[in-house]
Amino acid sequence: MAEKIRVLLAKPGLDGHDRGIKVIAAAFRDAGMEVIYTGLRQTPPMIVDAAIQEDVDAIGVSILSGAHMTLFPAILKEMKEKGAGDIILFGGGIVPDEEIKELEALGVAKVFTPGAPTEESIRFLREAVGKKKSDEKIM
């Protein structure tokens, strides 16, 4: 059986709009993915703990509060500390090009800016997950 892509969507920080992320969640589901939606005001530790328990391939976060330069690195740090550095982290927000470069250098796989079509993020996610290889032995 082909494995389903599992992706966790979260909204860290204090801004209280979840419309955008719900649209993305529905689009990912319609693309055949299993989407775990965690709701608003998630802290980086909550996001990473949930991602580990749900064994997701990727974490997608929406950050519209402008706090992307603190939240993304905080999530990455949490992932590394908890041995979850292999999970793909991507997100969306109003982020200038230079900062996108900076974030991608830190380990964020992709940052989408407002207006990017959902097909683009679906394509990105499929490719990124497809490239992920694991050589771990179960038994």
Binding site: K4, R29, A31, E34, A50, I52, Q53, I138, M139
Partner: protein, 314 residues
């Protein structure tokens, strides 16, 4: 180190990986389950079922905190439907889970039905085995909540909580749907809304009408307010009471034994079905057969007999 070795060292990532391994039926998953099955005792498995929006997740969240306060470790499985059109799923039960302690104490896993229709996913009871083997004292399972009655929960749990709301309709509907038969504890949630007392009265008299052994468990009906944390202590108490009651009178054992029997039959049925269909796939053209039936040259009943005679008798 293998993932299983890490699992034995109580590594949460390994637990999550193994749950996926079992859920995806990856090569070797049966052998792994067999290994873990030996470590499973008779921990408490609780099912929460009821229509969408009744407050199942809200109650799960409350109950988890009660168990934690009693020093228990809890694993939750929350099942949501897979879209039959896209194969995708939106799993949103996590939203209601608030202020959980670390995963060693409370572990939460969302599952999509992936085509199953009885209220759970095909792998749900196997995942419960994995969680118990990891060491969780209690496994709480929330069903999908879209079907009429979600019977799978009976075979996966020891104690079933059926959740209704004042808007759920009258007691006759609940009876017709067979909800009385599957409940060990009945909850009318959203008791802050009008109509709950009415429904409770109706349910009580409906329960009275049913012929019951006087020594049998008397199904309690509890009015709760999940959002206001009202009467949750009573619900918690009744769940524990039911557990103690069934463990004392042998019902718990009988039910578990029945579950084991069903499990074996299920495993055999799946095995036979898979093998038979694999054999057929190599040798029979379904297109041709469908043509024959569609144009009246054959009928499905005769075809069934013929195929069974030709390939099924071994």
């Amino acid at each position: 180190m293998t993932v299983l070795e890490k699992f034995y060292q109580r590594d949460i990532r390994a637990l999550s990986r193994i749950i996926s391994f079992v859920e995806n039926r990856e090569e070797g998953y049966r052998q792994l389950l067999g290994e873990l099955y030996r470590m499973v005792g008779h921990g408490l498995r609780i099912g929460i079922t009821g229509p969408p929006g009744a407050g199942k997740s809200t109650l799960v969240n409350r109950l988890v905190h009660r168990f934690v306060a009693d020093g228990k470790t809890v694993a939750v499985i929350a099942v949501d439907p897979t879209s039959p059109f896209s194969g995708g799923a939106l799993l949103g039960d996590r939203v209601r889970m608030q202020e959980f302690p670390a995963a060693e104490q409370v572990y939460f896993r969302s599952m999509a039905t992936r085509g199953a229709t009885g209220g759970l996913a095909a792998a749900t009871d196997n995942i419960a085995v994995v969680m118990e083997a990891f060491g969780y004292d209690v496994v709480l399972i929330e069903t999908v909540g879209v079907g009429q009655v979600e019977l799978d929960i009976i075979d996966a749990c020891d104690t079933v909580v059926v959740t209704l709301v004042p808007e759920s309709g009258d007691a006759v509907q609940a009876m017709k749907a067979g909800l009385m038969e599957i409940s060990d504890v009945m909850v009318i949630n959203k008791a802050d809304r009008p109509g709950s007392e009415n429904l409770i009265d109706e349910l009580k008299s409906a329960l009275h009408l049913q012929k019951r052994d006087p020594d049998a468990w008397q199904i309690p009906i509890i009015a709760t307010e999940g959002i206001n944390d009202k009467n949750i202590d009573l619900l918690y108490e009744k769940i524990l009471e039911h557990d103690a009651f069934t463990r004392n009178n042998g019902r718990f054992d009988a039910h578990r034994r029945e579950q084991i029997k069903k499990k074996i039959i299920n495993i055999l049925r799946n095995r036979f079905q898979r093998e038979f269909l694999d054999t057929l796939a190599g040798q029979v053209s379904f297109e041709q057969i469908v043509d024959d039936i569609y144009y009246g040259r054959q009928n499905p009943f005769q075809v069934g007999e013929d195929l069974y005679d030709a390939f099924g008798r071994k």
